[in-house]
């Protein structure tokens, strides 16, 4: 960790400067996180009067619970689908925008704004589009012979949340792909063109490999997004249903803890998720550290 060559000689001031941030971090991050770890090893009686140390019971029960295991599978499917769709579409759009010069800014403006739409609102928009009574897309699907009902059909509900989550994330991925593409030196593509490589070949042999750090970074960010930021989408549409079909891990922590009041299990689930985020962060910094110096 580096500082400036010369620094201010001061004893009290730096502590005063970091104090607010450290206080909030300790009170609202470190303390609750350690509470979560602690209560994942305890059982509380129904009135919250006494607690008892139960060791790994909650974890063992969690990983034997078919509902939890299904939820892991659902979450993985959700994450893979959203990441693939939103990154694929974003890459296509970024390639297209980087080819047009005069109109690039106008297109970019028209493609980036979904970033600012709240997940809850995105969920509501798709819930309306796909509502079985008068939703536009449900209507269209009926025309093609599909009886759409996300209230009753688990697969339909899953497709709905995947589409809503992907729609919201395309703009983010698009911006990073576009930024990545602009840093590919023009001379490389020009040299390849002189050597006779067509646009497709140039993209696959030159641009795409140079985009791999961006792609990797986006992959991690997207998995993170799907795991945690899609809470609002699920809450505004399916509430984890029908019949657990969209009860992904982050929604399950909430519904088991706040609605089911099963604190031990909810804490154990929190700890599992925390371990997952820490793992993702470590992986990200091991691979991306050459791009970012912390």
């Amino acid at each position: 960790m580096d500082t400036k060559r010369t620094v201010f000689p001061s004893k009290g001031l730096p502590y005063l400067l970091v104090a607010p941030q450290l206080a909030i971090t300790l009170i609202f991050f470190i303390w609750p996180a350690s509470q979560a770890v602690k209560s994942s090893f305890e059982r509380q009686d129904p009135f919250g009067l006494s607690t008892q140390f139960v060791g790994l019971t909650h974890y063992l029960r969690l990983f034997q619970d078919p509902l939890y295991l299904t939820s892991i599978g659902r979450t993985a499917l959700f994450a893979v689908a959203v990441t693939a769709i939103s990154m694929g579409v974003a890459l296509l759009l970024a390639v297209a925008v980087s080819r047009v010069i005069r109109t690039a800014n106008a297109y970019t403006t028209m493609l980036v704004w979904p970033y600012a739409v709240a997940p809850v609102v995105a969920g509501m928009l798709f819930w309306f589009l796909f509502n079985s009574a008068t939703g536009h897309l449900a209507y269209l699907l009926r025309y093609f012979g599909v009886v759409w009902n996300a209230n009753l059909n688990g697969d339909h509900a899953m497709i709905l949340v995947i589409l809503a989550a992907s729609w919201k994330q395309i703009s983010y991925n698009f911006l990073f792909f576009l930024a990545g593409m602009q840093s590919v030196p023009q001379s490389l593509t020009e040299a390849a063109a002189i050597d006779g490589a067509g646009p497709l070949k140039r993209f696959w042999t030159i641009v795409f490999p140079l985009l791999s750090p961006t792609t990797f970074f986006l992959f991690i960010v997207n998995v993170n997004y799907v795991m945690f930021d899609t809470f609002g989408i699920i809450a505004a549409t399916t509430n984890g249903g029908p019949n657990q079909a969209t009860n992904v891990l982050v929604y399950k922590v909430y519904s088991d803890g706040f609605i089911g009041l099963n604190l031990g299990s909810s804490s154990a689930q929190s700890v599992v998720l925390m371990a997952f985020v820490i793992l993702l962060t470590i992986v990200q910094f091991r691979y991306v550290e050459r791009r970012v110096q912390y």
């Binding site: 001031l13 730096p14 607010p20 609202f28 759009l93 080819r99 008068t134 729609w167």
Partner: protein
């Protein structure tokens, strides 16, 4: 581009136009829905505007059912929440980054790593214990409870730290020769130099605060502190009633409009903020 191929140019524009249309479609449908009456929407799925736009906006703006605050009150709460989070995050991050870059003090590395850890602990994974802490501190149903737990931000600290590292050392040496102390240096030199970064970050953080849902849902149990996101979500949750799509979509559009307009009109700053905060 390197060569001129008319077919490829047409294809490129085609891809982009289809992309823009697909991206805009859900919001287009919502905007159309807010111009129709409840009766029209319960019968068909219109694609062209109707004549009820102002009626619906007035309906939603004055919407005040039992158990819910008036709509304008929720707009007010969301605005405050987003502004406090934005100002709070920027001020505590910029001063802690200043301490970490411009001073050498014991526990500096420890402080840095403690801040770093917050990157790994999104509020979603520690909701119950964080809720308990806020409840124990008596902060439920207050702006402090709504905002302070979301204010610590590692990314903002890193952004300022990286920016400070690019400012030449000579700047500070010159300031010291001229007799400026750390406080004067911060306010007279560092803060003005950071203007663009602060503006760019403000946009990202305002949106971050505006779109929060889970945390306000937990912390506000009395209606006077409900935020817009909690409010619009609860409008589709009324069971036993046919969903009033004209009002729900009007509320959804009003809730998405402020941050979307900010992104559209401040695109340059927004992109700078996003790309620099996240990389």
């Amino acid at each position: 581009m390197v060569e001129n191929r008319p077919f490829l140019a047409v294809l490129t524009h085609l891809v982009l136009i289809v992309g823009v249309l697909v991206i805009a479609f859900p919001v287009y449908v919502a905007v159309i829905a807010m111009t129709h009456s409840k009766e029209t929407l319960s019968l068909s799925a219109p694609l062209l505007p109707g004549g009820e736009l102002f009626t619906n906006i007035a309906l939603v703006w004055n919407y005040d059912p039992p158990g819910m605050p008036p709509f304008w009150r929720m707009v007010w709460n969301s605005t405050w929440m987003a502004l406090i989070i934005m100002a709070g995050k920027i001020s505590i991050s910029i001063i802690s980054a200043y301490a970490i870059v411009y001073f050498r003090f014991p526990f500096r590395t420890l402080a840095f790593w403690l801040i770093f850890i917050t990157l790994m602990l999104p509020v979603e994974v520690r909701i119950i214990p964080t809720y308990e802490v806020v409840a124990n501190l008596g902060l439920l149903n207050s702006y402090a409870g709504l905002t302070v737990p979301l204010i610590a931000s590692a990314t903002a600290t890193f952004l300022f730290r990286q920016f400070f590292m690019t400012i030449p050392d000579e700047m500070m040496e010159a300031a010291r020769v001229d007799g400026a102390g750390p406080v004067k240096f911060f306010f007279d030199i560092l803060l003005p130099l950071s203007r663009t970064n602060i503006a760019a970050l403000s946009i990202i953080l305002f949106i971050y605060g505006w779109v929060q849902y889970l945390w306000p849902l937990l912390v506000t149990t009395r209606e006077e502190h409900f935020t817009l996101m909690v409010g619009v979500r609860s409008m589709i949750g009324l069971v036993d009633v046919d969903p009033q799509w004209n009002m729900i979509m009007a509320a959804a559009v009003l809730a998405l409009l402020p941050p979307v307009l900010i992104v559209i009109f401040m695109q340059r700053l927004f992109v700078k903020g996003l790309v620099e905060t996240e990389k």
